[in-house]
Every structure is written in structure tokens, then in C-alpha cells.
């Protein structure tokens, strides 16, 4: 249930440049929303289906899934070894002929607190940890101990190259990397995921008109964004003042 790939591939955005207002009601976003929900309403794709098992049985020969499915298939489907592969995300063909495969990804962040008394040391640690050597060492030791199940999907590209991935898979990953888009985290942003899920629910399960559901959701998101920004004394936008 991922709106992001549709959103990014249509050229849409989650928020405006300053991260103050939700941009889910822009025309691009609406188009993305429609495409996504129509898969379920018009094309009757199963709303929920366990891909792993169906892949194994042959019922579903193709699927779009995340990293953990890759691991699952590699380790818990021994009869399939060598018979399947990983490819970049399907995308929308653009005017220049290229295929836009944008999608979000899983991310982790490191933080150093401003009040910390050990800022320099923290920085050194973070630098070391996210560097290629540490990441590679961690990944290979982990895999040596726990097997393929524990393959470390490091964010460090260099380390990734050095870890024992299969060549074809590695190529697929690196190609997709080009299209990777960071998912912006803004203050109050937890509301966005929540309301995207609500929108999906309204449209697909309750039959609401897409535009209506989206506008309702955006209104709520903006309210929360504004509230949080005011709470912390940050600048807020004037344009979303449609609040009743």
C-alpha cells in the first residue's frame, strides 16, 4: 500500500518546498492517487495478498515488494533458488523516453543533540559508523554469523558493492538507486502517513470520490502541521488558512 511511488513518478510531492503545507491536493498528486486506488477498485487487484506464498506456488509470478521479501525468498524458498531475480521498480514512461522509476525507501537517521557534551566524539562515531569500512565489516560479519537471512542492506553504496550480493541483484539495486527519493520528514509529518491510509480506506473500501477524500485528508494534515509549527515557534504558511 504505497502511494509514494505513484506520487513521485507523477512528479508530485508530499509537501511544499518549505515543508509547511501538504501538497497532496496538487493535480499531480491527485492523478497519482487515482492511479493507485483504481488498481483496487477498477482492476480488482487483491487488496491484501501474501505474496511470498503465492510466488512459491506460482499463482503470482510477478510482484512489487520490498527488501524483506527478497530475503524471505532467498532463504525460505529453497526450491526457487536460481529461478527468480530482482529487477528495478516499474515506472512511468516520460516525454524524454526514460522510465521514471522513483520510489521512496527505508531510512534510518542519526542524531546528535545540541546540548550534548560529547558532540565531537558523537560526530566521529557517526562518521566512522556510516563509512564504507565499518558498514562492510558489520555486514559481512553479520552474514557470516547468521547466514543470508541477515544480509545487511547498508545505505552506503560503496559498502554495498563490497558485500557478497549476487551480481544481477546488485545491478538491479544500483540502477534503482538512481531513482531513489528521500522521503521528507517534517514536523507533524506523522499525520501524513496516517491520512494517506485513511484516504485509501475511504476510496477503496467506502467508495468515496477521490477528490473529496483527498481534500478532507489534506485539510487534516495541514491543521496538524500548522499546530505543530506554532507549538515550536516556526514559520507557518498563509495559504492554508481555509480553516473553518
Amino acid at each position: 500500500m504505497n502511494l509514494r511511488r505513484f506520487l513521485f513518478q507523477h512528479g508530485g510531492d508530499l509537501y511544499d518546498e518549505k515543508g509547511m503545507v501538504s501538497k497532496l491536493d496538487s493535480p499531480e498528486a491527485l492523478k497519482a492517487m487515482e492511479m493507485w486506488t483504481e488498481l483496487f477498485t477498477n482492476y480488482k487487484i487483491e487488496k491484501q495478498a501474501d505474496f511470498y506464498n503465492r510466488f512459491r506456488s506460482g499463482e503470482m509470478p510477478i510482484g512489487v515488494a520490498d527488501y524483506s521479501t527478497y530475503i524471505l525468498l532467498s532463504t525460505a524458498a529453497p526450491e526457487l533458488t536460481g529461478w527468480w531475480g530482482m529487477k528495478p521498480m516499474p515506472g512511468l514512461k516520460q516525454e524524454d523516453g526514460r522510465i521514471n522509476r522513483s520510489t521512496g525507501g527505508l531510512g534510518q537517521t542519526g542524531i546528535i543533540f545540541k546540548d550534548s557534551k560529547m558532540k565531537e566524539e558523537a560526530w566521529q562515531f557517526l562518521k566512522w559508523w556510516t563509512g564504507a569500512d565499518a558498514q562492510e565489516r558489520f555486514g559481512s560479519e553479520l552474514e557470516a554469523l547468521l547466514g543470508v537471512e541477515a544480509r545487511w542492506n547498508t545505505a552506503n553504496v560503496e559498502a554495498l558493492n563490497r558485500l557478497p550480493w549476487e551480481q544481477k541483484d546488485l545491478e538491479a539495486i544500483l540502477e534503482q538507486w538512481e531513482w531513489f527519493r528521500e522521503r521528507e520528514v517534517v514536523i507533524g509529518g506523522y499525520y501524513t502517513t496516517r491520512h494517506i491510509a485513511n484516504m485509501w480506506n475511504e476510496i477503496v473500501l467506502n467508495g468515496k470520490v477521490t477528490r473529496e477524500a483527498v481534500e478532507e485528508g489534506v485539510r487534516e494534515i495541514n491543521k496538524e502541521l500548522r499546530k505543530k509549527r506554532e507549538e515550536f515557534g516556526l514559520e507557518t504558511s498563509d495559504t492554508d488558512r481555509l480553516d473553518e
Binding site: D50, Y52, N53, S68, I71, L72, T75, A76, A77, P78, L142, L145, L146, G147, E149, A150, W152, N153
Partner: protein, 287 residues
């Protein structure tokens, strides 16, 4: 003659009773059985959907992994077990002692503020513990108790529900025993331990059971009051096994760990069961 009539009627109802209860009972047990069977599944069967109830190739590999491999990170797995046992034993033992000491006066003595205190305890039962977590944490960290076993035992010693149970049970006890002991000159302290406590045994068993189950399964002390790995206990360790980036890697181990966690509680329940049922008869509220 009357007996013959009722026996016939009982048979008919009895059979139905047994069938119904057995089916229902097995249904209730099913999730537990499922958990047990998951813990012995090899990885090729772990993710089947619909899941199988009984694995085709049961294996003890998950348990082996649990004890050996996960332990090499910071501390051996046995350390978590040791901590859990220590902390739970501490909570149960001292909880029993302190609550018994407090229940006796509240049930049997007259003193000013008695009913105030009692009502306070019952009322405290109703405040949501989620919200109390933050103030409790602040208290522990400001008082310098962080990273000690004390921090994980002390807050849980004065459980309102436990003492409530004991007080109700004690109220049923005849005063005459205590009176005769007083006349013979025994001090309150002696009375408590020589007379009251032995009679309190069923309530103690119940208290021990609830307290044990609570403390054994509780990950919060480890999460909130410790930062050092050597002090953390089982439920927390299990949570960390199941989360994080290596989610796939550890599902089997997680099932094995969960199963291991449940076994002691069932054992304790079995042991205390008879005494527990006895207590419960006296736990009703009297206005």
C-alpha cells in the same frame, strides 16, 4: 430414588457439558499450541500461509540459535535469564512480605485513617499505568537509582491489586485466633508471622502467581531503568530479537523465545492452582 432420577438427568446434560467444554477449551488453547509448533518449525515452513499447525520437519534449531548465537553480542543469553529470575524473584518475595505486613493492620486493626488508606489503594487501581510511566521514570532517574536492580524491583513492590486481594482474604479470617494470641501476650509482629501468615497462604499463592506473571513478562523495567546490557531481562531481550533490520532472520527464534517465556508461567500456575482457587473464594467485595 431421587438420586437415580437426577443421575439420569445429569448424564444427558453431563455429556453435552463435556463435549461443549472440551471443544471450547481446545479452541482456547489453540493459539498456544500454534505458538509452540511455530517454535519448532524450520525456516522453510515458518512463513507458509495458511500456516500449518503441526510442522512436517520439526527442529530444535530455533532454540539452539536462541541460546548460542544471539548471546554472543553483548552478554550471553543466560545473563538475561539470570536477570529475569533475580528480578522476578525479588518482586514476588519482597512484594509478598511487604503486602502481608501492610494487609494485616488494614484488615484487622483499628486505627485512624485506615479507611482513607484503603480507599486510596482501591482508587489507585484505576489510574492508567501508561501515563504513570513518565513520572515514574523521572523519579527513578532523579533519585540516582538508574541502572540498579533496585530500580527494577522497588516500583513494583506495592501493587494495589495484590494488597487488595490479601486484605479481602484476611477479613474472612476469624478474629478469635488473633485475640487469644493477644491475650497470651504475643506481640503484633509475632502474631503476624506465626498465626496470620500461615493462614494467609492461599492469598500468598494467588499474589505470587499474578505478581510472577506480571513481572516475568514485563519489558518496561529493562527499557526504562537500565542502559547497560548486563542488567536487562528476558522480555526486553526478546523484543530486541524480534525487531530491527533483521526481521526475517529471527522469526523462528522469536517464536522459540516466546514459548520459553510462557513455560515458567504455566508451571507456576499449575503449582499454585489449588491454593489460588481457595483464595478466590474469599476475595469478594463486602461493602
Amino acid at each position: 430414588m431421587r438420586a437415580a432420577v437426577s443421575r439420569k438427568r445429569t448424564d444427558w446434560g453431563g455429556v453435552f457439558l463435556y463435549i461443549f467444554l472440551t471443544i471450547f477449551g481446545l479452541l482456547m488453547l489453540a493459539p498456544l499450541v500454534y505458538m509452540a509448533s511455530t517454535s519448532v518449525k524450520p525456516i522453510s515452513e515458518l512463513f507458509l500461509f495458511p500456516p500449518r499447525f503441526f510442522p512436517i520437519n520439526p527442529t530444535l534449531m530455533n532454540f539452539r540459535d536462541l541460546l548460542l548465537i544471539t548471546g554472543t553480542s553483548f552478554v550471553p543469553f543466560s545473563r538475561y535469564i539470570f536477570n529475569s529470575v533475580l528480578i522476578t524473584a525479588g518482586i514476588v518475595f519482597f512484594g509478598v512480605v511487604i503486602s502481608a505486613m501492610a494487609a494485616y493492620p488494614l484488615a484487622k486493626h483499628e486505627m485512624p485513617f485506615k479507611s482513607t488508606i484503603f480507599n486510596l489503594i482501591v482508587t489507585a487501581l484505576m489510574f492508567s499505568s501508561m501515563v504513570l510511566q513518565i513520572p515514574q521514570y523521572l523519579l527513578v532517574s532523579k533519585s540516582g537509582l538508574m541502572n540498579t536492580y533496585f530500580a527494577m524491583i522497588l516500583p513494583y513492590l506495592a501493587a494495589p491489586i495484590g494488597i487488595f486481594l490479601m486484605i479481602q482474604f484476611l477479613k474472612q479470617m476469624p478474629d478469635s485466633l488473633i485475640e487469644s494470641a493477644r491475650i497470651e501476650g504475643a506481640s503484633e509482629w509475632t502474631i503476624l508471622w506465626k498465626i496470620v501468615f500461615p493462614l494467609l497462604k492461599p492469598a500468598v499463592a494467588t499474589f505470587a502467581l499474578f505478581s510472577f506473571v506480571q513481572a516475568w513478562n514485563d519489558p518496561y523495567p529493562s527499557m526504562m531503568y537500565t542502559t547497560r546490557e548486563e542488567l536487562k531481562a528476558l522480555p526486553f531481550a526478546i523484543q530486541s530479537i524480534s525487531g530491527g533490520a533483521g526481521v526475517i532472520a529471527r522469526v523462528g527464534t522469536f517464536a522459540a523465545a516466546s514459548f520459553l517465556m510462557v513455560v515458567p508461567t504455566i508451571i507456576v500456575f499449575t503449582i499454585t492452582q489449588r491454593m489460588v482457587l481457595q483464595t478466590m473464594a474469599h476475595s469478594g467485595l463486602k461493602e
